[in-house]
């Protein structure tokens, strides 16, 4: 399928894509990349930015000797220059069954956001890896770079369906360790997993990833409006049921719970230097992407 068709499927208008082309994903820390690129790397390389000096060892390129230091100190030192590498961008989308909820569905927005972020990375000549977490098995698209990789990534996203009941934490670790470079990891999810999302984020942060979390929730999940006597069934596990009489008091208790959870995630991310964005599912795509990017991901 052509990129144009896939763009329509994912809800991208030509003007929207033009706006994305003007933006570049911004990382907060210097991260080593898988290849040469245009971003500052913590490693040594051959850019023009002087990074450090080291003693000369036989075999070093004599053009790197610092003759002024030799003249002053009568010692041989070689100039070390910073490498310029590209960024490894990992875009993870939650495809668990809980994402197939709401009208418009949370998954639709999640998929479109993932495609937009991946597009920005690709046209910025970063290496973009895309994965779907929470499905029966980890689904992953190997890294791509440049605009030609767009069709492959969008095609992957367009064919995803949110019907998984998989272990997000395990699949995240599996995906994140495929490539040794840490990189920028953007995880798009509703965060409604047993035990919360914090263990998954800790795992990524332990691997020295720069993490950004986009949590998408439907308005019924934020403010339930149904009242009366209900038996609530978990979409990911039908054996989990809750019998509850929803009154203004119980609805208030639930709202406090969800607010406390999102605040807990926000506080955790802030303390760890990670990015956190709460996006209601009914937010239009441009408002969602540009609102996020105004945060930390774009300059």
């Amino acid at each position: 399928m052509s990129a144009g068709t896939l763009a329509q499927q994912l809800g991208y208008s030509p003007s929207f894509l033009n706006q994305l082309r003007a933006l570049v994903l911004q990382n907060k820390r210097m991260l080593p990349g898988p290849g040469a690129g245009r971003r500052r790397s913590p490693r040594a390389g051959s850019s023009v930015e002087l990074m450090d000096y080291r003693n000369y060892v036989p075999g070093d390129d004599l053009r790197r000797l610092d003759w002024n230091v030799l003249a002053r100190l009568d010692s041989l030192f070689v100039r070390v220059f910073r490498a310029e590498e590209n960024l490894l961008v990992r875009v993870y989308v939650d495809v668990s069954r809980s994402m197939d909820f709401g009208d418009p569905s949370k998954f639709a927005l999640a998929r479109s956001l993932a495609g937009a972020v991946a597009y920005m990375g690709l046209i910025g000549y970063d290496r973009v890896e895309t994965a779907a977490l929470g499905g029966p098995a980890l689904q992953i698209v190997p890294t791509a770079s440049g605009e030609p990789g767009t069709a492959r990534v969008w095609s992957f996203l367009a064919n995803l369906t949110p019907d998984g009941r998989g272990d997000i934490l395990r699949q995240t670790v599996e995906a994140a360790t495929r490539l040794k470079e840490p990189g920028l990891t953007i995880i798009i999810t509703d965060g409604l997993v047993d035990g919360g999302l914090t263990p998954t984020l800790r795992a990524l942060l332990a691997m020295r990833h720069e993490v950004a979390v986009v949590q998408i929730l439907d308005k019924e999940e934020l403010e339930p409006s149904f009242e009366g006597d209900w038996r609530l069934t978990d979409a990911e596990n039908i054996s989990r049921q809750v019998e509850i009489t929803l009154t203004p008091v119980t609805a208030g208790d639930y709202r406090q719970r969800i607010a406390a959870y999102t605040q807990e995630l926000r506080d955790f991310c802030r303390k760890q230097g990670a990015g956190y964005f709460l996006v209601p599912a009914h937010t239009p795509l441009p408002d969602a992407i540009f609102g996020m990017l105004r945060g930390t991901l774009a300059r």
């Binding site: 809980s98 509850i244 119980t250």
Partner: protein, 602 residues
């Protein structure tokens, strides 16, 4: 306790139904949500934090059952039997004397009596009847044999206290007459202060009498007398102030004349003591007032009024060419102001005396004493004077030594009352007679008789003047509140108006001979009586004063001794008291509580 509608208890059959419905499994609707992860703690919180964890299922059921039981009982109309003060037929004697305006009980004793009366009305047994009598100087029935509590309460609310005292004997007689034929379950209840007239003249009652005292001992100074006297040519006002309170009190009395403060006097009064206060009355003063300005428990008796003596003057005009004996006799008439003239000129006089001068003819309607009116009449020599026996106008008039030389023969009117006849050689002729009720005629000249020299003359003139002169417009210058005052209008008066102390006025048209009694003397103060006579007005004033120890004595009477016939049975009554209203309100409150508990999700 009992039930007026016991059949309603059959509704209790719904209680098992409520229990059964409650424990039927609650049908819940199914709903799939994204995750129950955050709902489970909410449910656990409600379960863990509920204070009635064990009773969570049954709290609502308990409230519903209590509400249902409350409603069923309310419909069954339960009542409790309580001892009642009132019998099947009760007469309430409500004290409305001036004492009940005392403020020792807030706001006053009458309000306290009203409250007590309403309490007794609420205790009236089902099927009972109650009558309401206002105990005043002339007790009156406000409501007879009423079975409606609402009507009785309304009548109590409409009752007002008076300023006078109360006649207990009359009140009890009235009450017993209302209960005639109903003595078996009859009862009289007196609510009041206990000070009444007629306490020693009470006929034994055929039914038991209960007395409910109202009030407490309180300080009270009262003006108990206020009058005027001429002392060595000076008109003096005398007021007596009495202390009806339980302690010595300083009494300050102010004396006012025609609305101006004239004097102030102060004395200390021991409890039960009375002291006299006196002041000189200013010349030309008409209305006098004494005031006790210091506030006490009863303001009604802190003022009194009087009229300066001698204001009621009779104006006599003597038209004569000169008759010193006649003039002197007229001047001796008490309260007379005599004006002399040689010719007649109509004025504002009570009596015209024409001495040998022809009276005016035509429409002149003044009262007249004619002495030998001129005219073509025959003269005769008079022998013996024959007086009319037993005539009141000749009382104390002794004609034994009166001689008349010559008299003229006049022709009295057919309705004339001949007082003296004289024997002459040609038969008897009238010497002195009256015509109508406004004319007296002498048929001889006083100069032709030795009558003016005899003691009979001034006596006769006094008698004639008393008959001829118009009476005082009121028969008493001062009365007690509630007492009637006789109004004696001028014979030619056409309208009478009475202005009350509060400024309001009552009036009515007058026909000759009307002497209406005036009964609206409820409020102490000065009343002004005005008559329209001819083209002008004549005024008189009378005072209504509360000089009554029965009213001013605020000492509470703990018991009233009322004789009761031996066959009068004490009535012990039990009355049903409705309690269904309380149950109904409780049931409604429980329904509200149930809604609140449900909404709270307990």
């Amino acid at each position: 306790m009992g039930f007026l509608v016991p059949a309603a208890l059959a509704f209790s059959a719904i209680i098992p139904g409520i229990v059964a419905l409650y424990f039927l499994k609650l049908k819940r609707r199914e709903r799939e949500i994204s995750s129950t992860w955050l709902w489970r703690p909410v449910l656990l919180d409600r379960q863990a934090n509920s204070l009635w964890q064990r009773l969570r299922v049954s709290l609502l059921l308990l409230i519903q059952l209590l509400a249902a039981i409350g409603l069923i009982l309310a419909v069954a109309h339960p009542f409790a039997t309580v001892k009642a003060v009132t019998a099947g037929n009760t007469v309430l004697l409500l004290d409305a004397t001036g004492t009940m305006q005392a403020t020792d009980t807030e706001p006053n004793r009458f309000e306290a009596a009203r409250t007590e009366a309403k309490r007794l009305i609420s205790q009236m047994p089902a099927g009972g009847k109650m009558s309401l009598v206002l105990l005043t100087r002339s007790p009156e029935i406000l409501l007879a044999h009423a079975d409606s509590r609402e009507a009785l309460r309304q009548a109590v609310d409409n009752a007002t206290p008076t300023a006078g005292d109360g006649d207990l004997a009359q009140g009890l007689a009235l009450a017993n007459s209302l209960l005639r034929g109903r003595e078996q379950d009859g009862q009289i209840i007196i609510i009041g202060s206990g000070h009444y007239r007629g306490a020693g003249e009470i006929a034994p009652s055929a039914v038991p009498v209960t007395y409910v005292p109202i009030g407490a001992a309180a300080p009270n100074l009262a003006v108990s007398t206020f009058t005027t006297r001429l002392v060595e040519g000076q008109l003096m006002a005398f007021a007596q102030v009495s202390n009806y309170g339980p302690a010595t009190a300083p009494a300050t009395a102010e004396f006012w004349a025609d609305g101006k403060l004239v004097g102030v006097e102060r004395q200390n009064l021991e409890p039960g003591a009375s002291r006299a206060f006196s002041w000189a009355v200013p010349k030309d003063a008409r209305t006098l007032e004494v005031r006790l300005p210091a506030p006490d428990a009863l303001a009604l008796d802190n003022k009194a009024w009087a009229l300066a003596a001698g204001q009621q003057r009779s104006r006599i005009k003597l038209i004569s060419e000169g008759n010193p004996f006649l003039l002197r006799a007229l001047q001796l008439i008490p309260g007379a102001e005599v004006t002399t003239a040689a010719t007649f000129e109509e004025g504002d006089f009570d009596l015209y005396v024409f001495d040998r001068i022809k009276p005016p003819e035509g429409t002149f309607a003044g009262r007249m004493l004619l002495i030998n009116p001129p005219g073509p009449t025959e003269e005769r020599f008079v022998g013996t004077i024959l007086p009319r026996k037993g005539d009141p106008l000749l009382k104390f008039v002794d004609t034994a030594d009166v001689h008349i030389n010559v008299a003229h023969v006049h022709a009295p009117s057919p309705d004339a009352r001949i007082l003296w006849e004289g024997e002459t050689e040609k038969g008897s002729i009238p010497l002195l007679w009256t015509e109508g009720n406004d004319r007296a005629i002498f048929g001889f000249a006083l100069q032709q008789s030795d009558l003016p020299l005899r003691i009979a003359f001034p006596v006769l003139m006094q008698n004639l003047a008393g008959w001829l002169l118009p009476p005082a417009p009121v028969d008493a210058p001062q009365v007690a509140p509630g007492e009637s005052v006789g109004l004696r209008p001028w014979p030619t008066a056409t309208r009478l108006d009475v202005k009350l102390p509060d400024g309001s006025s009552q009036g009515w048209e007058i026909t000759p001979g009307m002497n209406p009694p005036y009964l609206e003397t409820k409020v102490p103060g000065l009343y002004q009586v005005t008559q329209q006579v001819g083209g002008g007005t004549r005024s008189a004033t009378f005072a209504v004063n509360l000089f009554s120890s029965l009213v001013s004595d605020l000492t509470p009477v703990p018991e009233l001794q009322v004789p009761v016939l031996p066959e009068a049975k004490a009535v012990q009554t039990e009355a049903p008291m409705d309690i269904w209203r309380w149950l109904g309100w409780a049931a409604l409150a429980l329904v509200g509580l149930e809604w609140w508990v449900y909404r709270r999700g307990y």
